[in-house]
Amino acid sequence: MRYSALSVFLNGLRGNSNWAAAWRQPEPKPHYDVVIVGGGGHGLATAYYLAKQHGIRNVAVLEKSWLGAGNIGRNTTIIRSNYLLPGNNPFYELSMKLWEGLEQDFNYNAMVSQRGVLNLYHTDAQRDAYTRRGNAMRLHGVDAELLDREAVRERLPFFDYDNARFPIKGGLLQPRGGSVRHDAVAWGYARGADERGVDIIQHCEVTGIRRENGRVVGVETTKGFIGTNKLALATAGHSSQTARMVDMTLPLESHVLQAFVSEGLKPFIDSVVTYGAGHFYVSQSNKGGLVFGGDIDGYNSYAQRGNLATVEHVAEAGVAMIPSLSRVRVLRSWGGVMDMSMDGSPIIDRTHIDNLYLNAGWCYGGFKATPASGFCFAHLIATGEPHATARAFRLDRFRRGYVIDEKGQGPQPNLH
């Protein structure tokens, strides 16, 4: 069923009791052309583009929990393409372009809101770094604007500009950045994939990968063995675990990132803003809650929850940037398990096994990548060739010395 203003109106008249389920709840078939492990944003987007762009419809997405239980439903919904390095920039800009047409493309309201992403700077060195980044963006055809202190003050008068240690000197703005309703992204891709014949199988955990003659023939799951011609892993924070099923050790560590939401407020802040000193970023959801967060906790974790030291740091940084935040009550906090790679950049690649494909290493920035990640991963699986914008995300780049280290931190995932 196509969603439209008319369908919303007519169903409203009937008490909204006639909506069909947005996707089926099928039992697994014995064999598929492609099996995707992980029903997060990336797995679902991959299935959608496999069906839509490449006509490969005999596909299953296997999700061990419910759809959207992972990071796709836990992130702070920020999208941007303000990257410095050539390996990253065209890819994230492709993603931004896909976001811009996504709702029409998959006929689902994902509340894509290009309200702008502003990164504040506090020192001369930071300004130079942002100038360089902004220039790199513009050379790649991405929008970027360097704001001075007064221009920032005009937009956000209630910030603390005269903090003794970290005065706000200006910021780098990407006007096309913004936020998107994360659940709706999962649901929209799921519905679009299902409509084209993809089986989305929830509560189906992959426990093993069966190989014969050096090729993958299928997966062992909690719903029995499922055969496949091609296997694609998109398990985000659990990538090391699924890769271990074929004895692969990845250049990844799983870390916890926390996020927070406040009580609902009247319109308060109309863009995404990041603090440049100590990590803190904030935006306001359409319901009015302030959605904010900071850095990863900094230790390996699969617990989906973090510690109070990080909560304290985030609160301190937030109040340093916006003093009036001290009066806001926090409603909830939560954590997600992220696949931090050794250079802070992702992996979309084949593996040493011919029909096994890997999508991993998204760190704390994989939500914005969801459309392009699915698009490029589907391209790789369907054609055997990497998509032009994702060529740099190779698994062997670490061995070969072609790391893509935006932050210049070296192989220390808890610092990326």
Partner: protein, 91 residues
């Protein structure tokens, strides 16, 4: 995670005194070859469960420690001096 970590030198101390470095991987010999060095620098077992990691007692004795911790629960269950651990693995 426990609020108190039992440093073998300083006794029970607040967790905030420590800095976590990451997986307690053993540094290869200089001539160990490219594969060994690649694995040391980039590859991580990243286990879900028991895990040994390097902690620095930054605001205490400033010794490097090996803390054993469960990555599913954050429970810590062992703290040893890193030099002692290295000595064990050499002998």
């Amino acid at each position: 995670m426990a609020s108190l970590i039992r440093c073998p030198h300083c006794g029970a101390r607040p967790k905030e005194e420590f800095t976590i470095r990451g997986a307690a991987v053993t540094r290869p010999q200089p001539d160990a070859g490219e594969d060994a060095w690649y694995a040391y620098v980039y590859l991580r077992d990243n286990p879900m469960g028991p895990f040994d990691e390097y902690w620095h007692h930054t605001s205490g004795c400033r010794r490097w420690l090996v803390v054993s911790r469960d990555t599913r629960t954050h429970e810590t269950y062992g703290v040893r001096d890193a030099a002692a651990v290295a000595g064990e693995s050499r002998s």
